[in-house]
Symmetry: C2
Subunit: 353 residues, 2 copies
């Protein structure tokens, strides 16, 4: 059921400091087998696409220093589909680059843009939503975002406010966006979820490459020019040198600010497919299976005594014995050890600096 016009762009440039020591700048969380299932989050991101897109239509945008990790973990992806950013400039230049790059190959392409370090548990539903979304975006000039139906008043996500009136509905499941909202405080988050038209912004977008480059031309012209000017050398052996020279000129901005909050034809597809951004140890714990004492254990030969409500992630360790802990994160990776109360996990980045 592959559609040759369907492409996927996986953004794999993140640094993941909140998951120290499992995730480090040298090997951030997308390159790690966070779930202890034998596949890294990046690999799972490709796996869950199934046959939705041909493998030769998968693209990964990542930092120069991570390219080898991508080649190694995704040998099935063409090497020249790993787009290498010489520096970090946020998601807007990343997506603009991919859109122009793909447009050169196929002006009729439609692309899913997705983070590389999220979790989806219901992959059938995920593929159904993406398939419908790709069709919708391919037939229109709309930019489609996926909105996750919220299950709690989470303050760690941005929210998308949808216009659920019938006049807005497209294809029955897709609605016009009223507004994007920053991460709220607790009270505001509770207000949001008391309505039924607020959704978590999953950072997954679907749009045709022509719609994408047009949106950049209108709303972020300088960035668009950078990548349009390189059109003749895409796919040649001059591409990387040109990107290395020109990419740093782009201003550092997220696609949300650059495009989503400015463009008109923005739609949201409310969905529910067991999504988590795995942004914190707590969210990983929530997604993991637990023992009868509510411990989530990812590791070998881990023995727990009088221990409950702990998140244990010690995949590199040969043997672990823990006695008498309640409500802690214990994680070891590559010679770095963290023991920290779950309630204090927001401090991990700072404590490990």
């Amino acid at each position: 059921m592959e559609n040759k016009n369907n492409h996927v762009v996986i953004m794999a440039g993140g640094v993941g400091s909140r998951f120290w020591p499992m995730s480090t700048p040298a090997k951030p969380k997308q390159f790690i087998d966070v779930l202890g299932c034998g596949r890294t989050l990046l690999q799972l991101t490709v796996d869950r696409l199934g046959d939705l897109v041909p493998k030769e239509n998968v693209w990964v945008v990542t930092g120069e220093t991570y390219a080898e990790l991508v080649y190694e973990q995704l040998p099935e992806i063409p090497r020249d589909h790993v787009l290498r950013e010489p520096c970090r400039r946020g998601t807007a230049p990343c997506i603009c680059y991919a859109a122009w790059r793909i447009k050169k190959l196929n002006p009729k392409a439609t692309m899913v843009v997705t983070p590389s370090d999220h979790l989806v548990t219901n992959t059938d539903e995920f593929r159904r939503v993406l398939k419908n979304g790709l069709q919708f975006a391919g037939e229109t000039d709309a930019i489609l975002t996926l909105g996750m139906k919220p299950t709690r008043a989470d303050t760690g996500y941005g929210y998308i406010q949808a216009d659920l009136t019938a006049a807005s509905a497209r294809a029955r499941e897709i609605f016009r966006v009223d507004s994007f909202r920053e991460k709220p405080n607790k009270a505001v988050a509770e207000e949001y979820i008391s309505h039924n038209n607020f959704f978590w912004n999953a950072g997954i977008f679907i749009m045709s490459v022509s719609t994408t480059v047009n949106a950049f031309r209108i709303h972020e012209k300088e960035t668009s020019d950078v990548f349009e000017n390189m059109l003749p050398i895409y796919g040649t052996d001059k591409e990387q040198a040109a990107v290395n020279e020109n990419f740093p000129k782009c201003r550092n901005i997220s696609v949300d600010y650059a495009i989503m909050e400015r463009a008109d034809e923005i739609f949201v597809y409310p969905a529910q497919f067991g999504w988590s951004d795995l942004g914190t140890w707590g969210s990983l714990m929530e997604q993991s299976s637990r023992d009868i004492h509510a411990n989530a254990v990812i590791g070998n030969e881990v023995r727990l005594y009088e221990t409950s409500n702990c998140m244990i992630h010690t995949t590199d360790m040969k043997q672990v014995v823990i006695q008498g802990l309640d409500g802690y994160i214990v994680s070891e990776k590559d010679g770095r050890l963290l023991i920290c109360r779950l309630s204090e996990e927001q401090r991990i980045g700072k404590m490990s600096e």
Copy 2:
């Protein structure tokens, strides 16, 4: 000030299961830099002898499997002074072997027998005591034990009851032993230390080789015969094969039972030189320097937040962050991690099995 008759026999065959994961059967605690000072306990045991005995008069008795570790850690000791036991038979056969072996070289030798995994903080006083003890044992047919002046009602040590009456005193500091006492319960330990004539048995003995072999001939004849029979081949290339064949015939018994509690001329030298047998994590903690929150930290790049009364031993780790622990042991070694309340440390051996 070396005396060519002075020898030291270091017993290095122990397994140290209570210090898991730092200590494992493959590399027990005597072979480990427990204090994080750059020297293993075995090396410190040799270091603290200073010039009391010539290096060529140092002997190590250890298990066959640990011989390479000894060669590596004590390159200054003659290789044929590393006596290799083919199996574990307690301290009596170990000491009997060493005594016969040394007697063949020098019938006038006097030897200090010492464990390899203890700690001494006042090495000047330690050497003074040993020097006096060697002189006393060399001039008499006495067996001298060192008794540590107790600082608390410890239930983890055996006790030596001394006869402190003037009639018993030799060289002013040395007294006749009334009795050896097994590890007591708390009430008995408190009774012991309420008197001033009970001392901890440090397992350090001083006696001439002739006195030693005579004591074995009288009190443990079969063991003595095993080693006396091998006299002609000691120091030849047939020694190890003969030991491998005959050593297992010895019965498994400690020197305390075999000799100390049976012989007549047993003396004790009460002393105080900052001794600990480092038998538990708690005792290591007690001997370690502490930060202002009473944490003992042996490791690199260890950062503690809201953490107190913890024993941290993570010398293999590159970086450690601990938040919110009070009264725990945290230890990592060679891919094995322990987190355990100090109050539960007696369970470590069982929990790590």
